[in-house]
Symmetry: C2
Amino acid sequence: MNSRFPVSLHILTLLHDAKGQVMSSEYLAGSININPVLVRKEIMNLRKHGFVDSKEGKGGGSFLAKNAADINLGEVYTAVKSDHILGQHKKDPNPKCPIGRQINQHLTDLYTQAEQALIENLSKQTLADFALNFN
Amino acid sequence: MNSRFPVSLHILTLLHDAKGQVMSSEYLAGSININPVLVRKEIMNLRKHGFVDSKEGKGGGSFLAKNAADINLGEVYTAVKSDHILGQHKKDPNPKCPIGRQINQHLTDLYTQAEQALIENLSKQTLADFALNFN
DNA sequence: TTGTACTGTAACAAAAAATATTACAGATGA
DNA sequence: TCATCTGTAATATTTTTTGTTACAGTACAA
């Protein structure tokens, strides 16, 4: 499992905390303790989804593009996730086995509904709620 | 993300389908299309949790140790999961940053409740229900 | 108009995690 | 007593994730 979700949430929390001030990838990376290039990549994704925006050039950096109360954690999760939460299944089970032949379809169905429950739970909380935890 | 959950579920489904007959790790591995040693390791874990049992020696193999209707998928997930579903967070964010200093605790809290929702959803379905999908 | 400090992005390297392989002792049945 | 399994360790390979280096392009500011 990669750490894109926690990294994204960390970035968003920092940007929220910055109250509109632009933050450099260098600074964000310093708080998270990862490479600035990874931060910039993650920010590209967050931008693509409309959560943040950024300014190039001297004095540039990034900032929240919408109100923290309008970003829910289910959306953040969705924006970040790539493969199935329950573990990617083998692409090529044995087609000669009646179970092997059908398992991927049924796993996909199972994952889809389980993931939906996860997302619904995360969606109950906004970035603003989450940031409220910090003092 | 490893594929322990789908592998475990695949094994359990095959054993259920076998209706009590012992199945060799070789056969199971053949349906899943992975290495038999991995199957045996996964079976050790499923055994430890009381889902299956196995017989050594010639003609040996494994079989379900309880009724499929008494194994729910939430339990299977719990038996198999190692790290956090939402991605493990960095162990060492910057302690000098007020956000970095506290984020891990809050991520853990968030994960715990989100994972709970996932498990509750999975628990609605038993192995018997899942196996019913196959024909 | 030139230097400085950023972003965006690609290409490559290193580290970590997952999976596969080999090997073999011990159990069990025929 | 042979053949066929499990259980398990040790090691190798592959894949995924993360880090690093590099540099073009943008914007501000002296």
